[in-house]
Symmetry: C2
Subunit: 210 residues, 2 copies
């Protein structure tokens, strides 16, 4: 796999392939042509073939793709089988919603702990996930190998917490703070993936015709 050469647009489509293939599997579909898969995804058959050719040879001329094989292969390309360790910082409404309802395991991670400043939350468990004192975040990261941190705290605390996480060697931050914190050059390897809710709603505002 030549990770560096694959365009951002292709990478961002891979989870959509997964979702579509998972739906086909549930419906009991065993194989699918690139044109049928493209129709499901709003892409042309040739785009599908081009996307998947970045990662090797998947389909067979005249047969199409085996749904289950392709599904498993894409999950492996995404690294979802690795089940890397994740923590969550900020167990408010949004943090709680993710802890209770989001399927971390299906997206490649084990959520191992949450951190919060509120005394009434510290020491409790949410959906099996222990909530620790936010003051323990640094020491925790020194003794646990954590790959990713989910940031679900208020924007005012985002930069300080992100700095701590990066200093302690976190490799990815899933950012829900709606704040673009700075990533210093010394942390250029850290991957920040932001869920900017407002960007999405503003695009919706634009697309609605009057």
């Amino acid at each position: 796999m030549r990770k560096d050469k694959i365009s951002n647009a292709v990478i961002r489509r891979l989870p959509r392939y997964c979702r579509n293939l998972a739906a086909l599997r549930r419906e009991g579909v065993e194989r699918i042509s690139s044109s049928a898969l493209g129709k499901n995804m709003g892409l042309t058959a040739s785009q599908i073939r081009q996307d998947l050719s970045c990662f090797g040879e998947f389909g067979q001329q005249g047969y199409g793709y085996n749904v289950d094989t392709l599904y498993q292969e894409i999950r492996e390309i995404l690294g979802l089988h690795r089940q890397r360790s994740a923590i969550l910082v900020g167990a408010g409404n949004l943090g709680r919603a993710l802890i209770r309802n989001f399927d971390f395991v299906d997206s490649g991670f084990r959520l191992e702990a949450a951190f919060d400043v509120r005394p009434e939350l510290i020491g409790t468990e949410m959906h099996g996930v222990p909530v620790h004192d936010a003051a323990e975040l640094g020491p925790y990261l020194e003794t646990h190998a954590v790959a990713v941190a989910v940031l679900t705290l208020p924007p005012q605390s985002a930069q300080k917490t992100a700095d701590l996480l990066m200093d302690k060697g976190i490799r990815g931050i899933w950012n829900f703070t709606n704040f673009d914190f700075e990533v210093g050059e010394e942390h250029a390897e850290v991957v920040v993936e932001s869920m900017h809710f407002s960007d999405s709603l503003q695009v919706l505002s634009y697309l609605i015709r009057d």
Copy 2:
């Protein structure tokens, strides 16, 4: 404005322009060159000029862009000044997080009501937003002009609720259900903007190097 001719990629960058320009305004910056703005946004000066030329003439050669004017213009292009009416369906943890913490007004909408099936929530107010019985959703839409519905309910209820919303003339659905519901041809004008949390985390999984 020639809405139809503007590429999806440009539209999706507009909210990022807004965020960057808002930050510059807060810092008291009055004007900025396309190369400096590009640097902030990870784009080239010529991409910036190209993006903005889709909407008319904004900058001045040798002067750059007036930060406040450009900010206001982009907000207007996005329709954020319209303050259209929105409702939210599903006042669980995620719905509550949005009601309490998300700035709908800043993204162009007034959140007027929430709907839920849980008796203990019906008739209450969350952060000033009344919570109605989900059974009242249809009648409500017949008597109120609602532009957008925020879907924050379990995936099993997504299709049925989306069908009702579309039948009642909703123009946009902001979908947090992690489910791609079907949009019939008779509703082809409805804009669906999905926040697929799993897509984002799976991309993060991919981008983390081992």
